[in-house]
Symmetry: C2
Subunit: 186 residues, 2 copies
DNA sequence: ATCATATGAGACATAAATGTCTCATGACTA
DNA sequence: TAGTCATGAGACATTTATGTCTCATATGAT
């Protein structure tokens, strides 16, 4: 064998896991294997148990998020524009990644470290955009980030419920975010 | 025995379940019983299994939410003011109720029915406030409700992380909501 | 054609949560 | 004092997910 990582079977399991676990986060490995069209034993040959599988899904999701963010912000003309493009690029990933928010991944040091790193990089980006005037200086950066994340989720839900297209939801959510934090006067 | 529903033991179990399940949604009934200071058998005497317990927690949470909303909006001078007061009153309930969002409760007809009912009542209230000018008429009511819910969650998280007090988080979240949806022009 | 490898199916063992039951104890009441 | 009742502790069976193993098969390479 060359490299088992490249085998389509492994990918099929990962894709099935994303799909099944988003529909039912407590689905058994048997259900995941079935959805992938493989036997349960095969799943155990590729992943060292449920924890290992979820760990791989987490890494995969982080790669996908980072890649989407990189692609989106590649040719942005300002920090503010980069944040806007990342915002819109991440919304469609909710279908694949959302269930991970409910998974206990505190016991994965490397994943935690990577999460912290990406988070702190994003905060730096946000603070540069803040200086550009993307949102009012009196607004705590923490609140911007929290609102940013939750409005991404809200936009994704709007699409999932059929109330809007990706583009429509992204537009209204972005407008809500920027207008809501523009000038913290009430 | 008079009425077992009123026994402190049952309440102790419910309170412990709220606490333990928020810390770890996959906690066992044994852990919940221990946290309540009762034996596992006693828990089974009061609740017909995990599903029944979660069902009771759901009903309890819905009662608490409805009560908090009623109290808060009791003497509001307008629909808009009522929505604002409900917003602030619900934020602190996140500590108790949030884990229920991850529980599968689709198999409870009565709970689903009650949820739908409260939801549609809230939508009616929102639409009356919309006519008062609480938010711009071009903004879909669905988007207002989604944003409302998610900013409540964001505010609760802001408090949980220690970045703000209840009152501070409520103020900034409400300002974000109203300012963000005031005039859908960008 | 032969061989190596990955797989599917299924048997089997294990672990953990769950549900039921019994019994002794302590509190409260008649 | 005697009786009733809820409880705690623990034994026991059941269920479900999980992990491991074996063996037959199919596929692809030599």
């Amino acid at each position: 064998m060359t490299n088992p990582t490249r085998l389509p079977v492994r990918d099929a399991i990962i894709e099935a896991a994303f799909k099944v676990l988003n529909a039912d986060p407590s689905a058994s490995l048997g259900e995941i294997a079935s959805a992938a069209g493989v036997g349960r034993a095969t799943l155990h040959r590729h992943f060292n148990g449920r924890a290992d599988l979820v760990c791989e899904l987490t890494r995969q999701a982080m790669r996908e998020t980072a890649h989407a963010a990189d692609m989106a912000s590649r040719n942005a003309l300002s920090y503010s524009a980069a944040i806007r493009k990342i915002f819109k690029a991440i919304i469609p990933l909710g279908d694949r990644h959302w269930f991970l928010a409910h998974e206990p991944l505190q016991a994965l040091p490397d994943v935690c470290a990577q999460t912290k790193k990406q988070e702190s990089e994003f905060i730096k980006l946000v603070e540069k955009a803040k200086k550009e005037g993307l949102f009012h200086s009196s607004c705590p950066t923490e609140w911007f980030v929290l609102t940013y994340d939750h409005l991404i989720h809200a936009a994704w839900e709007m699409v999932r419920k059929g109330h809007a297209t990706d583009a429509q939801a992204a537009d209204i959510a972005w407008t809500t975010l920027i207008q809501g934090l523009k000038k913290a006067k009430h």
